[in-house]
Point group: C2
Chain length 486, copies 2
């Protein structure tokens, strides 16, 4: 990306947001209040849950929304926009409302993780940047959370900048990976910008630049005696790498009474090599030496390595995390669900489709998560219209009867539960009303919320299908539009 100037992200929009904006302007729909839901249709990797992320960058974007004179000039040069519309853009700012689930929340298909209520031109303009930001960071946070769970308490570090899809893929990817549970990153600027702890020691080039591997290791231990991590696979891990590392530790650290150190392996069979290396280190008295591995890791390989007794303290995960290689798309969409007519009535709108999965749930909504009071675990999520709530839907005994919107005859009555609204107000009338938590708080919140999920939902293969149910009223509106739309 252009490194020599600050880009105006307001211009990172699909061109059709502008042709539509100009169209709303000319057709007299400029001030029509529209409601858009941002939601996704399926969890990547056939997983049971996703982790919402990216809201902080959405907030920064909304606060910075504006058109520079050069942007207006570019648009004018396209010779298709009304001068009145260009004037409108020159004075553009966001005046609407945004509600969203906090970053780090486990989220599920077909529930709004972000909702915009704003005049048509405004809500439309946001589409591309909101989607790309939430899609990208939720993709990486979700993948990171899977990988961290596979590591069962061992440290996972994000090492993928060099394979990221562009600079923001690296920078924001490291942030999202931290939310998902990674302990740190290799990406320096993500530390400087977001406080994601950045670390790293040496590449193969360090070893090659010296006349011998031992010289390279010795020099590194002398410069960084506090916790040198030596890369041992440049020539031969077991024949020379680990022995040279032990020799350097013995020669430099031992005389000073230092015991904190590590080795890193970046190739070969990690189950075999780490077991051998652990034995060699232990026999040489370096029992505190940590073993880090890298090399095309993901949650499946990590799970297998641990089953096979690999001796690993930390995982450096690169391309398969930073690109979510196994499924690199988070399919969030942004759909009109209602508008307000001239009398201020909220009119629900649906989008039908030849593909059933692409049919939307109309109407301005509330999103609840229902927790069992005895277990503390989440029972499911429940959506209702903006003008009702859980209480108004409860049976006289305080229980709530919910049903599966895909199989409406499947009903369940739940008792002794607590309902919490998932979306928080972020902007009201264009004004930021949300206190952003720190990145550490978001990471902790994510870990805490994952504790409320049953293990069945967290399985890598064939997880339990978490409930996202609709209120009767919401279902009736959807069914009515499904059967009566033109």
């Amino acid at each position: 990306m252009n490194t020599n100037k600050k880009l105006n992200m307001t211009m990172l929009c699909d061109f059709y947001e502008l042709t539509m904006g100009n169209g709303y302007f000319k057709a007299g729909y400029k001030d029509r209040i529209t409601h858009f839901d941002l939601f996704f249709r399926s969890v990547p990797d056939k997983g049971g849950y996703a982790i919402a992320a990216g809201l902080e960058q959405v907030i920064e974007y909304i606060q910075d929304l504006h058109f520079e004179p050069e942007d207006i000039e570019y648009l004018r040069s396209r010779k298709m926009f009304d001068e009145g519309f260009l004037d409108y853009l020159a004075n553009f700012k966001f005046t609407g409302d945004i509600f969203a689930v906090p970053e780090g929340t486990p989220v599920f298909p077909n529930e709004p993780i972000l909702t915009v209520r704003a005049p048509a031109i405004q809500s439309q303009l946001l589409e591309t940047y909101l989607l790309l930001t939430i899609n990208h960071q939720s993709l990486i946070a979700t993948k990171a959370n899977r990988i961290v769970r596979a590591a069962r308490g061992r440290t996972v570090l994000e090492f993928g900048s060099r394979r990221a899809q562009g600079s923001s893929g690296a920078i924001d990817g490291a942030r999202a990976a931290f939310i998902g549970g990674c302990k740190g990153t290799a990406c320096t600027i993500s530390d400087q910008l977001y406080g994601v702890p950045a670390g790293g020691t040496m590449a193969h080039a360090w070893v090659q630049t010296f006349d011998t591997q031992y010289d390279a290791f010795r020099a590194y231990c002398e410069i960084y005696p506090d916790n040198p991590v030596l890369l041992v696979d440049t020539y031969n891990t077991l024949k020379s790498g680990v022995p040279d590392a032990i020799r350097a530790f013995n020669d430099v650290l031992k005389p000073r009474g230092l015991t904190k150190c590590g080795i890193r392996l970046d190739s070969g069979d990690m189950a075999y090599l780490t077991r051998q290396a652990r034995q060699m280190l232990d026999e040489a008295g370096w029992t505190e030496c940590k073993i880090t591995v890298s090399n095309s890791l993901d949650e499946i390989i990590i799970q297998d390595l641990l089953i096979q007794g690999a001796q690993i303290d930390a995982f450096g995960v690169g391309e398969r995390l930073i690109t979510a290689r196994s499924e690199p798309v988070f399919g969030g969409v942004y759909k009109l669900v209602a508008y307000e007519d001239d009398e201020g009535n909220v009119v629900p709108k649906i989008k039908l489709s030849e593909n059933v999965s692409k049919i939307t749930t109309p109407q301005y909504k509330r999103v609840y998560r229902l927790f069992g009071n005895e277990t503390g675990k989440a029972i499911g999520d429940w959506l209702c219209t903006y003008d009702e709530d859980v209480k108004s839907n409860c049976n006289p005994d305080g229980s709530l009867t919910i049903f599966d919107p895909d199989a409406t005859w499947k009903k369940k009555t739940i008792n002794n539960f607590t309902a919490k609204e998932l979306q928080k107000p972020i902007f009201v009338g264009g004004r930021l009303v949300y206190d952003m938590p720190s990145l550490e708080e978001i990471q902790q919140y994510c870990a805490d919320q994952m504790e409320t999920m049953w293990d069945e939902v967290k399985r890598f293969d064939n997880p339990h299908n978490y409930y996202v149910d609709l209120s009767q009223k919401l279902w009736d509106i959807k069914y009515d539009l499904l059967t009566h739309n033109k």
Copy 2:
């Protein structure tokens, strides 16, 4: 990514580039001249070729390399860097040489697409940004080229911003897709910044915002009568979408004698629906109406749709292009291949590995492409050491005997050929010496160079393995280091 300030991409480096830099500084290797090759090991999607891209952004990055006072302050706060090193960074600029293949060149595994010759700290610092930029854009240019070839002359447009992995994934991805052969993008800022033609007309929300679909279509035709493209699948493509579009064309365009228009389908079976829609449009006299389709397209689906007789004029390709979904990683690496000793001798260096595919080819090299004079087609690529060339390797009759480095007994003597060096000087002594071609020129160059590739190399499945051979001298150096390294 932070939208409120310009980020310093110099800080987009793996942290170990800095720990190594500080180490070189303290170990007295600051001025050791190192040679690094940037190359990749396999083509994504098991394809036969890749398209190099991203050089222009590498050039901008190199020209902007510097550390701001706040960057130095951040590094000092890490309490591990020598003050002398921080002073060095405060005055940092690139003084080395860079050679690279031009953007748009078809490239192959295990040949250097970019080479850096610079003092160790400098060449090391570049690693992350060079890799992420070349990896990302080459990934997308390669994928785009596959998709464009599948479309057999029909227009392919890049529509993926909303699913891109971060803002630069969208912005630079649109640029790379254009290099690969896409005709345009939906991403407005990529047009403004790079001149990738941006276009787009309407989303489903446009149709939903009006009281009826016909009202929405009619309004759009009135505002954009020159070439309205109407999205026809919001409710039902054949029952109401195409009929409402025809009615709007009849009511608005016909009276004005306008015939240029289009429809877009975004769901359903594209083979069936486009054949039906084409027939309906033709019967209504709208034979010039173009049909665009979108919805999870890639080269395989496009190839199949055309075999099945789909009636499509243009493809809008989204997530599967902008993330290269089927294989979202371009595995470029950056490896030390030589350094210069105190007498200025170039000392070749190898990196061995337990994984044979990770063994590098040492030495500062030249890269040639050999073209048959009669066919104009590329025979293969040929690498030699920096101090030899094709001529010095030719047989007395002017022929050249080449051999497969993985199977050295497989030899071939070629006659009547022209050898062209692939890498061009980009920076010499830190000074830019390369005239960047325009983006249109790069796109044309890519198309021309693809014409020099045999069809066998371009197959999607099981393509011919293009030759990347080594000179005898280069092979001897590699073999010697393979057998004698410590």
